[in-house]
Symmetry: D2
Subunit: 304 residues, 4 copies
């Protein structure tokens, strides 16, 4: 049995220095954060391992956009699965809009009059929809023949006028999946065009082949989840029907007891054949908007 090391903080510590100290505790929040970074490092450095990143929750309104772009441009991940909301926030910023610092105690009726959509204590300007509508309408011919959602998203990324999560996926040739794209502002903009009589060929099941193929042909796989929802579940099912994950890091604030997929502990995946019984994995109970910058900063110190 190893004793819990009592953490010793030094002046001017680097983030990685702190994370190592935290990891020395070995247990509970600090220890798990340390393990999360170790496991991320291991799967990224494992050249035979394909890394699947699931992103849910309020990451762009929380200030995580450049970190995600960095992760992709560094090619530390091989597949991204995310929500339509995240891509809508990302496209909005790519089109020149910003999110704003607000308050969770704001008067929502007043915000509505001002055209501000509240995301807890962050505000998104409602005008973002106009910008997106124009962008989608103008480029619709580029989109209409895309059979897969990934194909559609890469094309959006290619066409966005500035750096974005979508553009970095396109440029780095990282597949990006979003099974419920219709459940988002971007989805609504496509619906708007369809309602005007335009047609699009995107098939609801087309992307499945690709994500499962990537897992299937990989020597080893690793999963990193910030938040749950469809992104986590879609990656988990790719593991189940191809190659069990050998590495796993999950960061979530959802609870396991109600039984939903978002809060499920990674070890549950062993029963499903989603996770290798001798995989290295850890569940970190933490807000992604706290854990992601710390994990990424520590990794940046460790990896090349």
């Amino acid at each position: 049995m190893k004793p819990v090391n009592q953490i010793k903080i030094k002046k001017q510590m680097s983030v990685n220095g702190l994370v190592k100290q935290m990891g020395s505790a070995g247990v509970l929040g600090a220890g798990r954060l340390g393990k999360a970074v170790n496991i991320c490092e291991a799967m990224i450095k494992d050249k035979q391992c394909k890394v699947f990143l699931g992103l849910a929750g309020s990451l762009v309104p929380g200030g995580m956009r450049k970190i995600i772009i960095d992760l992709i441009e560094n090619k530390w991940v091989d597949v991204v699965v995310t929500t339509g909301a995240t891509l809508t926030h990302d496209l909005g910023e790519a089109l020149g809009y910003r999110h704003y610092q607000g308050s969770a105690d704001a008067n929502d009726a007043e915000l509505h009059r001002k055209g501000l959509d509240r995301v807890y204590e962050s505000y998104m300007p409602n005008k973002i929809y106009e910008g997106m509508e124009g962008f989608i309408a103008k480029n619709f011919n580029n989109f209409k023949d895309k059979k897969s959602i990934n194909g559609l998203l890469w094309e959006i990324g290619r066409l966005t006028p500035s750096k974005s999560i979508l553009k970095s996926c396109f440029e780095s040739k990282i597949p990006i999946f979003c099974p419920a794209l219709s459940d988002s502002g971007i989805g609504l903009m496509f619906w708007g065009q369809i309602a005007k009589g335009r047609a699009i060929k995107t098939n609801a099941f087309e992307d499945m082949k690709e994500i499962i193929d990537i897992a299937w042909t990989a020597k080893r796989t690793g999963v990193i989840y910030f938040g749950g929802g469809v992104p986590k579940n879609y990656i988990q099912q790719a593991m189940q029907f191809s190659k069990k994950a050998d590495y796993g890091v999950q960061v979530t604030m959802d609870r396991a007891e109600p039984g939903g997929s978002s809060g499920a502990e990674l070890k549950e995946g062993i029963s499903w054949g989603k996770m290798n019984p001798d995989a290295r994995f850890v569940d970190l109970i933490c807000d992604s908007n706290i854990a992601l910058p710390i994990i990424f900063a520590a990794l940046k110190e460790r990896i090349k």
Copy 2:
């Protein structure tokens, strides 16, 4: 100001009698449960109101299937949006499989060897996938021309050999939406057929028109969410782009502070134009597998 009424429990109280007593507290958990039932009752009894039900989480493995079927057969709701997982569990039971009482402390590697997929402390037999594969393969010709996911789901419901959530939606002509159907066992079975060279026409954006139309043409709308995820968000976006909800009940264990859609308080929807500023709504912080039977039993006493 109204005083908090101290609840008085009587012998042989009916569920509705208890819920009324709980509602008399007016505040906190008991008071909010009371309000949730009152608001559900009001929206169901409001003949001009279209009720949108969002279902996420582990409801069928938790024993909620017949309650959901009852809700639909009673036509207390006009639209159902749910996850592929819920429909997979539902179809599995319709094909003769059961979920089993297990333990959250089980050895997952052992469960895997036994072919049991763990959902916290409920087990799903992995053989369910064989049954579903056979069902989807056999009936594929009925599915292949369905352009919308709702159309596909109704057809599955029509063909299932026994009562199910899907069948009750089909028979009661209640639209059922599942934007991320590809993220589920059912989705996988379709992918399996596609991988064998069969084709299916389901379009990723096709359903949006219908859900928005229903909201748009309604005189009033109400939303009931058990759990968050895509079901909640998809209904919320339908409200945003058509008719703000006049009634709202949300039952969730997710937190608001990380900023994700699942945990967002209903009042946040006012800023987006999803919720009417003078709507009647309540957030009930409770496990759906606890709240749903209580709410439904109380409603059953109140409504015809």
Copy 3:
């Protein structure tokens, strides 16, 4: 393996009828609620078992006061441990004050000007402190020689002008412990008298003998926790140093992962010798203000 029973709700179901149906699911929220009632029933009906009730959180402002009084008057519990806050709310109501229905979105500065102390969405009138001060000052001679906190609380209960948790404990001769009484409005009122030069003999360690003796001399013990904090921990330590609990029901919204006592799963107590390895126990993840009325109403149908 037992299948998960899908719950069937009937019209005009009694609460116990519903709880039995919920218990039939066997797992997750509904199943655990069913188990919680079964285990409470078993320990209350076991004549050789001393039942220890721990109460924390916002129960009186949430409308639970009469339920708690009923529990005590029925002698379903043998020992009560609670917080000073709960007793302050209870004494306040006994002195004629009420709690009020409020809003979690209220302007707190305005409430302060109005003399309303907010407890999430319940308000306590600040004048309660004047009433308590008068009560404690007037009766101080009755209190000053009480060596134990239990002795002090029974005397307060004896003197309160109307039915209360404190009075019912005194009248039913149910020991009531509150280790951190100084951390409460009642504590402050004693401090006020001491600050005026009066003295009180209450010893910080005096009650320990009694609670441990009760557990020690019992044939069997059972624990019921609504909320965590000192009440739970103080009972757990009495179990550890006397007789391991044979029955356990915990209702909490706190999480286990941060490692605090409030959120710790009951099974953890087995390692400490607080819980018998073959005890019947269940952790119910639920707000006490929701679970307590349901559990109590079901028990009322089952017992006597």
Copy 4:
């Protein structure tokens, strides 16, 4: 309105550099962590401000002991309030015991046989109680006349053979309060001596004067809470009956909705007169075992 700054991580960033970047987001988890550090820095640097630190939860088994000792030795806080459990863990380590890295999935009955008490995934050797018993028995004459719990704790600190939270409080003359000391291993050891016929004079209400006096005579006050429970509430009540806090930082995983004190948002304190309406304060929803090392490391870079 200020835009949400998208965080940019640089190589070899110091912890404070990262925290500043996180603070630049302005909102949600990262933004709140940034604010928490800013507010801690402001209250520590404000020479007219007395800082009250509340510590609950599993901090010593989580590896936070040296950080807490550093905080005290730096005299960044003026008052410490904590739980008996934290002091028991601290005294145990001071007497030469260690906590051990374990697993939340361990077999608790087996741990019991091995004499290991589980704290989620950390283990405390049960032998710790023998060491403490010897220590308390041997030094009982030094303790028996201590009227206040603070006096008792300082004396324990003075006598402990090595550096500890208790010793650093004694040596730095930082008052340390623990209203529910009887609810702990240390309390049990005193009870053990009392059970053998020895007497101790510690009065249950004695400490109240001192903590309220410190707040009363301060020009300004600030509160820092890691976890809730009695430590938070006891400081909050000192604020209520003396000087409203001008600064506040709360780190917790407890929820506000059930209405308990532990999860209550700091703004609620404004209604009670515990918090100044124009105080600078923030609620950080995070595990203390994650947030404390980060906050402390950032402060160490900023202060002196």
